[in-house]
């Protein structure tokens, strides 16, 4: 997988994963792997900065979850209303991009 492609679409990927329910970091990585048939495998080093940035931007909200293995409450990330709006916008944006690429490259996507 081209890491540049992942980097450019990381926000869309994370917001999509969290659309259905809040998840914590490790679970997000597992979900991404499962739902993409193993295609998306995040580096944790890029995941957490992205989650923190989306939280600071108001697209995600942190929630305290059950106690983790280190005895601390797990930090879950939930999509906010602003995040849902951003997700819709990014989906449209990606759809338009993918359509244009299909026309340009003659199919495949």
């Amino acid at each position: 997988m081209n890491p540049d492609l992942l980097r450019g679409n990381l926000d869309l990927i994370l917001l999509s994963i969290l659309e259905a329910r809040p998840l914590y970091g490790f679970a997000i990585i597992q979900e991404a792997k499962e739902r993409s048939g193993g295609y998306f495998e995040f580096r944790e080093g890029s995941l957490y900065p992205a989650l923190h940035r989306l939280e600071l931007d108001g697209l995600l909200a942190a929630q305290e979850g059950e106690t983790g293995r280190n005895g601390k409450p797990r930090k879950y990330y939930a999509l906010t209303d602003k995040g849902r709006q951003a997700l819709d916008a990014k989906r449209h944006e990606f759809g338009a991009f993918a359509g244009a690429m299909r026309q340009l490259t003659g199919g495949g996507a």
Binding site: G25, E44, G45, Y48, H52, N70
Partner: protein, 380 residues
Amino acid sequence: MTAPTTIYTDRALHAYLRRATWGLPTGRQQELWDELEEHVLARADQLQVAGLSPAQALTQAIRELGPPGSVTLGMAKVYTMPKILIAAGTAALALSAALYAVAGGGGKTVSLPVSTNLPMPVCQPKLPENVRVTVVSNWENSICFFRIAPGYPTNKTIESELLVTQQAVEQVVAAIGGESHLQSNGILSISIPSFPTPVSMARITTRVNATNYFPAHMLLVPTSAVPQYLTGFQRPIIHAGNQQFSLNQDASSDKVMPFYESISPKLLSSLGLPWGYRSSPANMHSHSVPTHLNAGEVVMAVTRGAGDSYQSNFSEVLDGGELSIRFDRMHVAFVSDPQRLKERQPDGRTPVLLVRVTNIPLNQLRQGIFVPAQATSDAR
């Protein structure tokens, strides 16, 4: 800047987290520390299920995080930290390789000899008069010494206690970031970071050929933030930090003293229980208990005796999860909490607490408590 508090972390993980959260605002630093720590532990659990050892799993989970410097840089951009910190973070990427070397560890195994049947000093409130002696220790109104004058009886030997050398204790304590110090009165004290006073003290048990020996339980420091855990029954291994210490019986001993019995005071203390009595082997009854545990795990069974004293017995889980263990009671009921050992069971059964003591951080030994699906047992 002091590091955020942690409950459970390997030394390499601790170093990684310190680097990865470096420079963040205080509240965010703790937050990210906790997130990354939980992530590593969750992934390590997953890898253990896949067949890796706990140490291997933790090492790989740390590796998968990627260079800590990349986390630092990523977070620096999120929290718009000063450019100087971003620049320093870039430089820190170069240090990440060194950290990887630590995390990738490949901890070595050190062999520690253990001994029984060593000559023991005499201990009494004061020294005898007109007798030449060599003092071994002087503590708590008790002086222990060897008589060196000719014609006196040979010193009493001990058969029931497993002993290790002072060097062995120092090595294991160093592996968890602690320090050991032998005082002039023959008392060894063990200190660990974040504790203002020594967490463990013991007098020299005996001295042979200028080598000081201590009880084997001095190898364990359950309060250490850098956790220790145990594996193996016949050949126990203490995992401490990135190192493993295998315990080898002194080839000259003619009686094998089980390691786990020798450390039972420390294990019981970790559960908040005092150690107390020991049953006669003639009064022991065999119980066969099906468990969910893997073969090779070691289980401690705790029962309560008279007063507030407790006894522990150890056994190894066999293939299929079968645990064959001996208690001094015919009919027992397994309980889920140490406090329930004091309760009288309505059916007259003796409460027993089962604790898996292998592959469990000793500072979280309570996590090893389990109640088998068959919650009672009758001796065969």
